[in-house]
């Protein structure tokens, strides 16, 4: 398959998860996701795709322990999540860098909160920053960096806490197309090298195919998993090489069919609903 050492250990598991949001002014109870079950095995990278508003971010928030599901449960390493878990780290589309902290201090945020002593966390930040070719920027402030660099710093911050599981919510959708390809490769290599488990949300079908072992397709709201496609391609750590493989187009075409993009019209996407 992809050649990555994927074991049968279930790192992250959703068991029959349903999420309802309380009614707000002029709106009934909103069921974002209904009866979602799937698991991500150790070392596996799984992408989650689906129409806007189908509950992808909601699922990620549940997997990070920040939100409790209305029904069902999310488990990390077999244990039910009751709150944020040190083995799970989150990265969003927004880089969420703190403007008053230098790049290195931003990378250290998580380990600092978790109480790692200063010399150790400094060293960890320096290692990560050199991995991402950012060592010379460690004393810069975020506003002095480009969007791509900021997103790299955010990734370094996510990795600094050395989590088993990475939850990535459209991490590269705000950067330009070329930078995105570079960042995708860096992410793929990092995940492979460190044997991390990842759940990736993306709207970019080619990104889903080139970065993952498996792609889950969700329906419109209330979101359910309607398909699961195993990406049977080598070199999961090299998305650029994968892009050259014509198989990618077949997978993308299949995903488009499953998403029914050809027949979807904009009015089916609830305006102002995207979270």
């Amino acid at each position: 398959m992809s050649g990555s050492p994927i074991s049968d250990v279930r790192r992250l598991e959703y068991r029959n998860v349903t999420m309802r949001f309380a009614p707000t002014r002029g709106r009934d109870v909103l069921t974002a996701v209904r009866g979602v079950s799937f698991s991500v095995r150790d070392g596996e990278v799984v992408s989650l795709i689906g129409p806007s508003g189908c509950g992808k971010s909601t699922l990620l928030s549940i997997g990070s322990g920040l939100t409790a599901p209305s029904e069902g449960e999310a488990c990390v390493d077999g244990a039910r999540l009751e709150g944020p878990n040190a083995e799970v780290a989150l990265m969003l589309q927004k880089d969420l860098l703190l403007p008053w902290r230098t790049v290195a201090e931003n990378v250290m945020l998580g380990v600092e909160i978790q109480g790692m002593p200063l010399p150790e966390r400094k060293q960890r930040a320096q290692e990560l920053l050199s991995n991402f070719n950012l060592a010379e920027f460690s004393n810069h402030y975020p506003h002095q960096l480009s969007g791509g660099m900021r997103q790299r710093v955010a990734l370094a911050r996510t990795l600094a806490v050395d989590p088993h599981v990475l939850l990535l919510d459209e991490p590269f959708s705000a950067v330009d197309a070329q930078t995105r390809i570079v960042l995708q490769r860096e992410l793929a290599q990092t995940l492979q090298r460190a044997g991390k488990t990842a759940l990736l949300i993306t709207h970019d079908l080619a990104e889903a195919v080139t970065l993952s072992d498996r792609v889950l397709v969700m329906s419109r709201r209330p979101g359910t998993i309607i398909d699961e496609i195993t990406i049977d391609m080598p070199q999961r750590d090299n998305p650029i090489a994968r892009r050259h493989d014509p198989k990618v187009n077949d997978y993308v075409a299949r995903l488009m069919d499953r998403l029914d993009i050809a027949h979807a019209s904009l009015d089916q996407v609830p305006a102002g609903d995207a979270a």
Binding site: P84, N85, L96, P99, W100, I113, Q114, H143
Partner: protein, 263 residues
Amino acid sequence: MNGRSVVMRRGLAASVALLLIFLAAWQWGPGLLGVPSFIVPSLSMVAVEFVHAWQVNHLLFHTSVTIAEVMAGFALGSLLGAVVGYLLGMSPTAEFALSPYILALQIAPKVAFAPLFILWMGFTVYPKILVAILIVFFPVMVNVLTAVRNVDPDLINLARSFKATRAQIFWKIEFPTSMPPMFAGLRIGSTLAVIGVVVGELVGGNMGLGYLLTFGEGQANTPMVFVSIVMLTAVGGLAYLAVIIVERHILHYLPARGVRGDF
């Protein structure tokens, strides 16, 4: 960089020119327009009065008293404003319960409390400080409150995902986020503090620039009134400058905001 320094040099030259024109108009304007000197004394008369007040009327002493009152009122008022701002910002229930009273107090003209405070505390420095506290409190509190309210919830969630405690969320996220708006409040507060103190001094007592002002008024000594006003402006300017210096130091991470972005 180059364009910027050209703008600065031209701007500075124009500023200095304006100052000279203003001083010249002050010196010769009243005479030319036939305004009597007990209405608008000329610059040189005010300068003479300044020396006289310094030597005879303890101008330095009165200025020091005013500065001390402004500092005390500003420090206590902004501390109180910040603390209450953070508490209300973190407790929507408390804000909901207290907001009508806060609004009422905010609408009430704070300087009108000066006579009351003097009735309570006599002709001491305390009523002046109290007026300043009251008047400085609001801009600081409101800015801190809104800042805490508007912290990006995703930032809080990020910290929570690292298992941050409530205290860590406050010190690592909320408190630093509130710094720029808090300094905006402190700037306003620094000038308001002077107003509060002066009104207190005008109403009663025998110390401070406000007292000197009423003293000059009582003697129909217009130059002394002018001297007091100039000194009060200087005190306000110093207070404002002090806030800006501290702000520059603390908010050094912010990108530069243009040529005179600080004013």
